[in-house]
Amino acid sequence: MNSFIAFIMGPMVWISAIIFLGGLLFKFIGIIQSVRSKEPYVFSYLTVKHSLRSIGAWLIPFFPKSTRLSPVYYGISYVFHIFLFVIPLFLASHIVLFNEAFQISWPALNDGVADWLSLAVIAALVFFAIRRQMVPEVKYLTSGSDYLLIFLVALPFITGYLAYHQWFAYRWMVVAHVLSGELMLIMIPFSRFSHMLTAPLTRAYMGSEFGNVRHARDW
């Protein structure tokens, strides 16, 4: 059992990080090659300028009209995505691990703040889950996999929160936290989480079609 835990806490972290980064890289190369061979015309219309213009417009909070029509969902979603990256990257206990591995460190979030932010992420995920039930058009589209995705994201935050407060079996909670974090990283390239890669690409293409060809805005 100890060797299993040691594996989860040690090599598996590296393996999952490699799968996450390698998987996304592999996916990216696959997409580019596939576009080259099957839809090369895409490159005739794609421009850096219009891609960035569109991605940029959609990064400005409440700038696109669509986001103003659903302000609550969009606002929560926006903050959620920021926290999703900020918390794991700026948590003091994570930075210590980075420092051990790579001898690099950066300023950490105050633990108390991080604690509240984690709660906010969990609350956002609860909101997403409830929204999937309550808003008819979202409910219509929702299937089990959507809840599974929410659960997968929630798990590392819940376990992390519990571990930090040491409310239950601390050691097991840490293991569960690491394991769920690894699971999420591994899942990213192979699930709809991969929208972290594909969404900028689809946005770039639509932004180019609108900006470069249609001389119109797409936000």
Partner: protein, 459 residues
């Protein structure tokens, strides 16, 4: 967002009637087509299209959609049908091509009957939803894929298929025969000489600056529009020509039924006619889908990244005539007007600001509708929907309720619709919802208000 207190009531309680009509509306072409299908053919055709004719784009769209539902607000069908989730863009994908993908093409005839309806009658492929999806997923593209599959399965609705048949035979959309076309031009030329003694509609003039092209409904039903343009061309001193040969029609319904091969053939004939006549630019009448065909879609199938000739939509051309002083306005139009931005020249070409400038140069009292420009609501007729014909008019009116509300809120007396499909669809809406509005092309107002004198350079 659409204000709720402004909700229209359907005058003749036709919602329910249309629901009934919907259940009844049988289309002989769809039914006969479904009858002919075997499970093997269905599976083979769907998989052929999904495997051979799509690529990473489609894959990315399927993998990227997070089912967030933000596209719903974009769609007139969703808004007009009391926010019924079935009409939201992502639901249309879910109920058509996702299912085909998941089931690997093993879908039933009933499923296909519904897929024909969703893709041909409940989506105008206006691409408004692409502006409301945070990821820019192109749902119109996927609806056109569904239409492509329906085309190959020969279950395209009857009337639009007849239009495509006409395209394939005559290279125009309304079975206009070669002699009828030329005869109509000569007749309009003759009529216009009442106003301008030496007016000509020059046929096949080699080396003219501009080839003017129209869609077939103009010679068929609205020849007066050709008259008006001829008057403007003549007054503005433009060196122009119209082709006497097939290739004169820039419309393209094949593009909307997924018959890409006929669509490409139409666009080829169009540009080769311009090349043969050695013109420098092509100006086209007030039509949106035709613009999309030659500017965006038909050209691509033929390996032209962009159209090989500059294609100037009437809106941009009027702007040019007015700003260059080639046409001057005698007296501005007095009635209160509003402007409908057609998807294919606004969202499709960014001509909305020029259009407003023209309207303001021609009319005294202009009120914008809300939303407008790229965000304007679709007319509900375009994308081939109105071309599916009279059997579907009842449900189209139900599906266009939010457009009626938007129009009514302007309080305008005159609606300017610079696109043929929009024009016909909006005319139906005005009539059905009893909106007390007149509908006009921008060219109607240009012609009505312009000074009937000949432009002299430097004068």
């Amino acid at each position: 967002m659409q204000s709720q207190d402004n909700t229209m009531t359907d005058p003749s309680n036709e919602t329910k009637q249309a629901e009934k009509a919907k259940q009844k509306a049988t289309d002989p072409a769809i039914e006969a087509g479904l009858e002919r299908l075997t499970p093997e053919r269905i599976k083979k055709t769907i998989n052929q299209v999904l495997e051979k004719e799509t690529g990473p784009r489609f894959k990315a769209y399927v993998e990227t959609c997070m089912r967030c539902g933000l596209c719903a607000e974009a769609c007139s069908y969703f808004l007009s049908n009391d926010r019924d989730p079935r009409f939201m863009p992502a639901a249309k994908v879910k109920n058509t091509i996702w299912e085909m993908l998941v089931k690997k093409g093993e879908v039933s005839r009933d499923f296909l009957r519904e897929a024909v309806r969703i893709s041909h009658l409940e989506c105008n492929v206006c691409k408004r939803c692409a502006m409301y999806c945070p990821f820019g997923i192109d749902i119109a593209y996927m609806m056109l894929l569904v239409r492509r599959i329906c085309h190959k399965l020969e279950i395209t609705p009857q009337y639009i298929q007849d239009t495509v048949n006409s395209h394939s035979v005559t290279l125009n959309q309304m079975w206009v025969k070669d002699d009828e076309w030329i005869d109509t031009l000569q007749w309009q030329e003759e009529d216009a000489r009442e106003e301008f003694e030496d007016l000509q509609i020059p046929l096949d003039k080699m080396g003219a600056d501009i080839m003017y092209s129209v869609i077939a409904p103009e010679p068929k039903f609205q020849a007066g529009l050709i008259y008006q343009t001829a008057a403007m061309m003549h007054a503005a001193g433009i060196d122009w020509t119209m082709p006497s040969t097939p290739g004169w029609d820039n419309s393209n319904m094949a593009m909307y039924t997924g018959d890409n091969e006929i669509s490409g053939r139409i666009a080829k004939a169009f540009f080769e006619t311009a090349a043969k006549l050695r013109v420098k630019r092509i100006v086209m009448g007030e039509c949106g889908h035709a613009f999309r065909s030659v500017y965006d879609m038909g050209n691509r199938w033929n390996s032209w990244v962009m159209p090989p000739f500059e294609v100037v939509h009437a809106l941009a051309f009027y702007h040019e005539l007015l700003t260059e002083g080639r046409i001057t306005i005698a007296e501005k139009y007095k009635k209160k007007v509003t402007l409908h931005d057609p998807c294919n020249v606004s969202r499709g070409r960014g001509l909305h600001d020029k259009a407003r400038e023209v309207v303001n140069m021609v009319c005294e009292d202009f009120v914008d509708m809300v939303p407008n420009r790229e965000h304007n609501f679709c007319c509900g007729a375009g994308g081939g929907v109105i071309n599916c014909g009279p059997p579907y008019k009842g449900e189209r009116m139900v599906n266009n309720r939010n457009k009626a509300e938007q129009l009514a809120a302007t309080g305008a007396e005159v609606l300017i619709a610079p696109c043929h499909n929009c024009h016909s669809g909006l005319e139906d809406i005005i009539q059905h919802y009893d909106l007390k509005m007149e509908i006009k092309f921008l060219g109607d107002l240009m012609y009505e208000t312009m000074e009937k004198k000949i432009y002299k350079p430097g004068a």
